[in-house]
Symmetry: C3
Subunit: 325 residues, 3 copies
C-alpha cells in the first residue's frame, strides 16, 4: 500500500473509511460522538437533516446484501442525499468494463460518495487509491467500505463500539469476547482493531481451532477453544454469524455439534459477568451460534446495534461530507 | 387471531390496513373521502404534499409485483416520504433469517410503515401482531397489506369502492357482479367484503363451478354459473384476472372455452344496465376474461381505477401516519 | 409513420425525444445551450435545481442497462423529480400484459416522463404515438428514447455533439470519423444524423465491410475500410463499442485481428490532426477497439462525454418539462 493512511487527509480528517486498523483513538471517539447526535434524528417525527442535500451517494454493491445496503440507504436519505443503488454483478462489469472504468464513469457524473461492498478484500482500497491518484483532475469522492471479502467491515466495527460505549460507558476496564468463525469474519477483524485501539485491556477470541486465524496473540488477544472458560467474567460478548458453507466443508462437523460447543446458551452466558451484554451483527442463525432465549433475552442488545448502526453510518457520511469541503 | 380488530386502535382509528373484513362502514367512507382530496394532488403541476415528509416507508415485497409496488412507491413519494424497496426473496431471508427477525431489524431502523406483499395468506397479520406485541418496546410501525396469498388485497378493494362511488354516487341501490376466478382471488374477497359492508343490496358472484368457493350464499351473495343470467341488469361488473396457471391445471378446459362462457364481450355486456361500468384490477388478459372492445370501450373505467388507486393509497398512508401520532 | 415529426409540437417545441433524424439544427443548438447552463449545477455543492419538483419520471427499461439508467436517474434527481425505476422484463409484461397496457396504466398514475430503453427498434415511437392518440383523454407524458434496438440513441448523439462543440467550437470546419461496428450501432446512427444536421462538412465511416451498412454514401458520408487512410487529418474520432457477440458470429475473425485493423492505437491516432479528440460512448473494450494508452491519453475526452451526458439529459428533461406546460 503506497499511502500509509489513505483514509486520512493531511489534517488527520477522514477522507475515506476503509478499515478501523490504524484509525486514531480520538477519531473513533469523534465518530461515536457525532453518531450520538444522530440517534435522536431517527426517533423524531421528521427523520431528516439537510447535511447532504444535493449530494449523490452511490451504493456500489458488487456483492449482494439487501440488509447492509438498506442501512446505508436509510442513513443517506435521512441526511437528505440523493441515493442511487447499483448492483454491479448485473451491470456493465458484465459487459467487460473494468472496476476502475466504472469508478471513472461515476466520478465523471460528479458522484460524492461511494459505499462499496465487494467480495474481494481490498477492492475499496483500490477505489480510494484510484480516486486519490486522480486528485486535481476530478472532483473528490469519499469511499466507505461496506464490507470487503474477509478483510474489514468498519461501520459494523464502529457501531459495535458505539453499542459497548452506550451500555458500558468506558472501554478501559472491560473484558470483551469475540466468539465463533473469526478466521473468515471481516466483522471480527474490525471489532478486534477497534477494541484494542480504544484501550480494552482484555480481548478474547473464542472458537474452534479450525476457525481461529494465526497471529491473534500477537494482536494482544487471549485465545480460547473452550467457550465456557473464555466467557468467564466477560462484560460483552460479540457472537459471529456462522456461514452455512463452513458446515458443508471440512472445517466443522455439523451445526448441532457447533451449537453444543460454541452456541451461546443461557447456561453458558451465566458464566459471564451478570450485566454482560450480548451482541450479534445479524442475520442470526438461531440454534446454531445463538439460542433464541439469549437472542431475545434481557442481556441482548442486538436490536440496539441495528438502531445505533443507522446513526453511526449517518455520522461517518456527514464527517466525510465535511472533510471534502 | 387473538385480537379482534388488530387494525384498529382503541379509538377506532386505523393502525394497520390488513383486510376490509370488519372495517366499519364509516371508516371506509372516511378513507374514500380522504382519497377524494388527493385525486387533485396527482393532477397538479407539483404532485407533492408534505404529509409524510421524513418518514421511512418500506415496500416489503416477498412476492414480486412491479405494478403494485409502483403504485405504493408513487403514493408514498407524492406524500414526500422516503421510500425503500426491498425484494426479499433475494435478501437475508435467503440467508436463513426469519420473517420476524427481518421485521425486528427494520423496526430497529425506525421504519414508519411497511407495505407488505406476500404469497402466504396472513403474513401481514403476523407482522402487525408482532408489532403490537412490541408496543412500548419499539416505535410503532403501520402495516399495509398489499396482497397476501388468496386472502385479501384491501387497497384494491378500496379503490374499487372509490370507483363505484365516483360513478354511481350511492351504494344502496346497486347490483354489482364479480366475475371469474373467485376461488383464488384476493381481490374478489376484498371487494365482496367492501360491497356488503357499504350496503350494496345485491352482490352477484359469476363463474364456473370449479372457480367458485363455498360459502358465498352465506355472505349474502347470489351465485351464477351462467354469465348471461348473472349480468342481467347489473350496475357495475368487476372482472377478475384469470391466472394462466389455472388453465394448465384441471380447473379449466382452455382459454378459448373460458372466454366463450365467462369472457366479457359487448354482446354479454348489453344484458347489463345501459350505464353499467366495467372494472378490472389489471393486468388484463385480453381475449381471455375480457375482449378489447369492452376493455377500451365507453363503459370501461379500468384506467380510472388506476388513477383512483394512487389517491386511495395516499389516503390510507396519510390516515395511518396520523393515527400513529 | 403517420405523423411526420411526432417529437415536435405545432410550435416546433420538443414534446418527445425519439431520434435526432429530422431535428432542426436550431433545436439541437438550443438543447446544447441549455445543457451548458446545467454543467455548472453538477459541480456545485448542492447539485439540485427545482425544475422538475413534484414530477414523476419513470425509467422504463425493457432492456437492462444499469449504466444508462443511472445517468437518467441522476439527471432527473438533480432536477428534483421523483424517479421510479421499472425493469420490465420481470414485471407485468411477463404476466402477459401488453406494452401499451403498461403505458396506459402508468399514464393513469399521472406519469410525467417516460425514459424508454427497448431491444426493439421503434418501441419509443410506438409509445409516443399512443400518447399522442390519447391527447385530451389523458394527461400528456413526454417520452425520451434511451436506446431502441439498432435504431437510435439520441441523448448519446446529443452529448457527443456537446463534447465536439465544447472542444472544437464550430461544426462547420470539421472532419469527424466514426469507427467500428456501424452496422449494429444506434450510437453511430444518432451521431451521423447529428453531425450532418449540424453542418459538419466531412463525416467519415470507418470499419470492415461486414460491419458497414449500405446507404452511407447517400447520407453524404465517406466510407473507408482502411482505418489509417480514414483517420488522416480528422478533428474528432468517435470509436464504437464492439459487441462481443459479433466476434462469436461469422462477421469477424477474432478480437486480436479486429484490434490490429480497427483498434485505435497511438500510432494510428498520430495520422489524425494533432489536436484530434478521441471519443467513445462506453463501456470500452480495452485492447479490442481502443488501446489503453489512447483511452487514458491526453487526446481522450471520454470522461468529459460522461460529465456532459448528465447535463445534456438534464437539458432534454427540462425542455420537455416546459413544453408540456
Amino acid at each position: 500500500m503506497p499511502m500509509r493512511h489513505p483514509q486520512l487527509n493531511e489534517k488527520g480528517e477522514l477522507r475515506h473509511l476503509l478499515t478501523i486498523e490504524g484509525l486514531p483513538r480520538e477519531l473513533i471517539h469523534r465518530i461515536l460522538d457525532t453518531a450520538a447526535s444522530f440517534v435522536g434524528v431517527s426517533a423524531r417525527e421528521v427523520k431528516k437533516v439537510p447535511l447532504l442535500r444535493g449530494k449523490s451517494v452511490f451504493n456500489l454493491f458488487f456483492e449482494n446484501s439487501t440488509r447492509t445496503r438498506t442501512t446505508f440507504e436509510i442513513a443517506a436519505k435521512r441526511l437528505s442525499a440523493d441515493v442511487i443503488n447499483l448492483n454491479i454483478n448485473t451491470s456493465s462489469t458484465s459487459k467487460g468494463e473494468s472496476l476502475l472504468d466504472t469508478i471513472d464513469n461515476l466520478m465523471a457524473m460528479h458522484a460524492d460518495m461511494f459505499v462499496v461492498r465487494h467480495a474481494q478484500s481490498g477492492a475499496p482500497y483500490l477505489i480510494a487509491q484510484h480516486i486519490e491518484r486522480m486528485r486535481g483532475h476530478a472532483p473528490h469522492v469519499n469511499v466507505i467500505n461496506a464490507g470487503d471479502g474477509r478483510h474489514a467491515h468498519p461501520t459494523q466495527g464502529l457501531l459495535d463500539m458505539y453499542t459497548i460505549r452506550h451500555f458500558k460507558g468506558d472501554f478501559t476496564q472491560l473484558t470483551v469476547a469475540v466468539v465463533g468463525d473469526i478466521l473468515h469474519s471481516r466483522v471480527a477483524r474490525s471489532d478486534i482493531h477497534a477494541l484494542t485501539t480504544l484501550g480494552v485491556p482484555e480481548v478474547r477470541a473464542i472458537g474452534p481451532h479450525t476457525l481461529l486465524p494465526g497471529g491473534l496473540e500477537e494482536l494482544g488477544l487471549k485465545v480460547y477453544t473452550d467457550m465456557r472458560e473464555g466467557l468467564r467474567g466477560v462484560d460483552a460478548v460479540i457472537m459471529l454469524r456462522l456461514q452455512n458453507e463452513r458446515m458443508r466443508g471440512a472445517l466443522l462437523p455439523s451445526a448441532q455439534e457447533y451449537f453444543k460447543h460454541y452456541g451461546l446458551t443461557e447456561e453458558k452466558l451465566a458464566l459471564a459477568a451478570p450485566d454482560c451484554i450480548v451482541m450479534h451483527p445479524g442475520p442470526m442463525n438461531r440454534g446454531v451460534e445463538i439460542e433464541s432465549a439469549v437472542a431475545d433475552g434481557p442481556q441482548s442488545v442486538i436490536l440496539d446495534q441495528v438502531t445505533f448502526g443507522i446513526a453511526v453510518r449517518m455520522a461517518v457520511m456527514s464527517l466525510l461530507g465535511q472533510s471534502q469541503a
